[in-house]
């Protein structure tokens, strides 16, 4: 019995599958480059064992518990938001009992991969074997082979980027550097807390930013300098990219006078919703300006309606599975920024979407023209086999392969990293195998492309 078939995700047609297998064999063992995700530098700085199975697989993974919640499992019973689990085994049993809900989902692919490849479990998780699985995982987690740095090696990671607030001291990153460990853990500059007026504690955050950077953020120019200095601080620790999680992709190109006056309105706390949106829009253009200067690659992740479920938000907080995608415009939204910096040779902006209707209509046409634009991989709900196929089918004919940037695992779940990259590599092989089988691409070209998709493009796009 086995959870994972060696040919999983490859097309059933024998000819196409054989091509996919040949392609996959050539990239299966390439190092993993992970330029965007939400793992914690602290894990690698301190190299402590991961806690129990429930805290590893259930509590931090909103993919997992949103599904359980949708089927009536209580978030209290799952101990979501509880810092110290009272009964991790009970949580695990609830999870195991509902594991069938994940049939047909990528979560199931990732979890089965971790269970089998990391923990040697080959029977599908269920109520029946819940305790056995719990015990096996718990025991392994206490071994040195499962310490964060050991897993980094085992996963064949070449570089791993975290996502960090401008208010973060980056001490954990510094500890890693100073430790002499050769693992490459890089910070990513995510300025939302200091550029989004709707972010909790925005004004305090701006004040802290100024204090950390020794700049007077009461003025627009001081505020911009504080950001520039913080970006420089991140760069010193290896940061190559910024990340922007705005509700929309809107950008603006105000005069500096208008921007300064808008900034004062924002700082006063009396700005309207329109003004707050305009400020975020202007800040994306300011970030592009800084990127032209310092070379940091921009990532824009728009279009999520955060905390849609008010009761869940009030009780359990942010990032609890209640973020819902919305229709997202890029054509009008990005134009102010692009008209200012769209033809700059030194600028790279990687665009993501939660609105798949924009792939063929907006994103591929934009990336197939503007030299600064690249398409990020299918994101979040679309980090999945069907999502990846739809992405390639909808974007390749207009933007080609070379305006894309390889894969992002974007995960909080460290143990899912190899599984996620494996799914991405397999799906690219499946897509390319179809092109080869339909004589739209020579097989020898496909070998080159699949290596680019798995390894070369991400390093180039993120300057790694």
């Amino acid at each position: 019995m086995t959870l994972l078939h060696e040919d999983r995700l490859f097309p059933p047609d024998a000819t196409t599958r054989a091509i996919a297998k040949r392609l996959y064999a050539s990239v299966k063992c390439l190092p993993i480059v992970s330029p965007h995700g939400h793992t914690q530098a602290a894990w690698f700085a301190h190299n402590q064992p991961f806690p129990d199975p429930a805290r590893l697989f259930v509590q931090p993974d909103h993919y997992v518990y949103r599904m359980l919640y949708s089927q009536g499992v209580s978030m209290d019973d799952l101990e979501i938001g509880v810092p110290e689990l009272k009964n991790p085994r009970k949580v695990w049993r609830l999870f195991a009992e509902h594991y069938y809900l994940f049939r047909g989902t990528p979560t199931r692919l990732w979890l089965d991969y971790a269970f089998q490849e990391l923990f040697g479990l080959t029977e599908r998780l269920s109520a029946k074997n819940a305790d056995h699985h719990y015990d096996v995982v718990a025991e392994k987690l206490r071994t040195p082979e499962f310490l964060p740095r050991a897993l980094y090696e085992r996963f064949h990671l070449e570089v791993l980027a975290t996502t960090d607030s401008p208010l973060d001291s980056l001490n954990d990153h510094r500890i890693i550097r100073d430790s002499g460990w050769h693992g490459r853990i890089l910070p990513t500059f995510r300025p939302d807390p200091v550029v989004d007026p709707d972010f909790a504690g925005f004004r305090d955050n701006v004040a802290k930013l100024g204090a950390l950077a020794s700049e007077e953020t009461a003025t627009w120019s001081g505020y911009l300098r504080a950001i520039e200095k913080t970006r420089a601080r991140f760069k010193q620790l290896g940061c190559t990219a910024t990340d922007h999680g705005h509700p929309s992709a809107r950008t603006a190109d105000l005069s500096q006078e208008e921007a300064a006056s808008l900034y004062f309105a924002i700082l006063s706390g009396a700005a309207s919703a329109d003004q707050r949106e305009l400020f975020r829009a202007q800040m994306l253009t300011e970030m592009a300006r800084m990127s032209v200067a310092d070379g940091l690659v921009m990532q824009i992740h728009p279009g999520s309606f955060r905390n849609h479920n008010q009761q869940v938000y009030e009780r359990y907080g942010r990032d609890t599975g209640a973020d819902i995608p919305t229709p997202t415009d890029y054509v009008y939204a990005l134009r102010p920024l692009l008209n200012r910096f769209g033809n700059e040779a030194n600028l790279t902006i990687i665009l993501f979407t939660l609105d798949e209707s924009s792939y063929s209509r907006e994103l591929a046409p934009l990336a197939g023209h503007y030299p600064c634009l690249r398409l990020g991989p299918p994101w979040w709900f679309f980090d999945s086999p069907e999502g990846m196929l739809r992405f390639r089918e909808a974007t390749t004919e207009t933007a080609g392969f070379y305006n894309t940037v390889g894969f992002n695992d974007d995960t909080r779940a460290f143990l899912s990293i190899p599984a996620r990259h494996d799914v991405a590599r397999r799906m690219d092989c499946a897509f390319l195998a179809r092109l080869v089988a339909e004589h739209r691409l020579d097989e020898e070209e496909a070998f080159e492309v699949v290596r680019d998709l798995a390894y070369n493009l991400v390093r180039k796009a993120y300057k790694l």
Copy 2:
């Protein structure tokens, strides 16, 4: 010669097809549960023969005559809207002559199924054999085997829901109950005539509602009580669900004072379009409140621009093939209702769409989080092989199988019911077979899932 191949709709690849066939064999003969449709209780109450072939297959089926009309066939020649057909055979010949237009459409699949499986006709309908087909169908319709109750048995129906106005006496449902016949025909509460101010005769409808329920509908509270009592009347005859056909999915959560004052404006007949839309929005939330109390499952069918063709509407009336889908928002629209009742354990809301771009962007993420939400099957134009595949491909990875509710035939054409359920079962088998062939699901799991999709989920979701 035969119209239907036994392997129809299964993927051509031999491995995948073999899996699909095994899965299909396990669900082919399961009883049909039909929780949503537009058949008439009167048929089963009075059990009279269906009329001639044209009135059975052409006149009531807007799928059929919209296609003929689109290709220049006159609706007068088809005698659309004529209560007693003058020349049913002439109508039938027109239909037969244009039958090639249905190539590649689900209508063709349904009709061929009825022709072959019910009437034993195995040659494709055409101008050449029009009269022969007409005669065969007409003759069979006069036999006892083709009376409504006999067909109910033959179709292996377990339960069949109709869709009914709150002003309906439900006498036909009562006659069925009192007849001792064991067929299970249930009403569905569709309050559009009394909650949509744009519905023809709205104010009269509200007055009638009050009279029927012995409540004073001149007041907001009396109006709500009249609705509650009508729901109770429906429940007594086995009703388990409500259905709401609004232009949008907008909901609102006004205070009772605001709602009462809006209701007066509506009753005055002087309300603006915005107010009328707000009233519909508020009424969805009121319906959710009542559902929490009485347990009726809500169905929301938004997004159709009704009667788009003004000339056709004026001449031939409603439901004549000129309803056109529009872009439909769910994320913002449903939030007021969801913030009020979205976490209620006793509430089920089944969402439908005519805007497929919302499947992966809005509907699957919403249903994959909120415990009250389920996804209805692909609806109307998407009740088709490709539509069903796109639905599963776009929703399963985020919402799984268990946030969906099986199949609705949603038909006015009683004879198409077994064909429609057969297509749905085959397409689910085709989809699952691909998952199995690509090693994304074990075959033994697929057997469980396909039975859930064909039989168990619909009974659970609709409380049948």
Copy 3:
């Protein structure tokens, strides 16, 4: 070695491929009907050799250089917008060096076809063989076999429509007619320069229109008469269709008084953006009115945000690869026109889109009802294998095959015409082969349908 496999674009599954091959064999050699495109009548009027390879393949083809530009190749180095290339060989080398960027794109399919079928080149273009390819192409272009009229024969063209301004004298079309050459080159009436107030030089254009037609365009009625007479002038030279490239599909149905007063506001140059959009909307309805009278088929191509890149526009002008699609509404937009003329037997309107989400939601339902509406083939970015599959998958089940109109090559690149039609025929065979293999269509019906799609429907829809 060969660039083109004889089975290219056919599904890999052996059964399905065999069906596709049989279908393709039946349409491969049918004449090409090209009812919409951007070739130049002057080529056929004067029958001069095409210039060098760079001016033939790179400079006029925004599909080609937008991709190069997106990857950092300078438009100056490509000599875009330069009337006489200084260094065509250098441009060609840049192109060859970046040819790998087109992997997976339709451009690559079209170019490889031209290289192999027209120039006998069977090695993939690259930096290595750039000069050789250049020399071979340049040499052939100087031979009589490569003169425009000879290529017209060789391509097996039956009719070829150009796209022409109402201000064009159509002298080249007249020269062709008078030359006795039997090739059928027809003009298409594209009135954008005189009906779109935002078109460069609009007011001068209107004045010229009046002068050419000997009508007083200072009045609304004179303006309309000038257009009617110009349409008649086009008809005399064989024109059967008009074409409308508006930013949106919006239509209006003003009273003639309102329209006249709007026209004055427009002519005054002081009209607002809303008024200009309303004027375009009204003019679509006027064009429909004229089409009911004179029988010209309307084509509507909405939804492109033209000249999105301001810097590129200012430096290199229009049509330089920076047009980006936008979300496009049809349901509300077309209603005024449809309510006026939607049921006219003598009207044909062919709808195109750059917003694929409208295929199943709006376009197929509209075309599956209104007798005047037909669906144009997948356009621009969607003139591609995946684009064609998505089009058929999303529209056939609702609109059938017979509300579509065959293929448009829509090209400025004369040499790509046979390649483009070949891709379209292959993809229709691939789609139909799947229907046959899945027993949704009989093979003998598929032979009829594929011939209709390749040849009959286009002639009927465009009245050719």
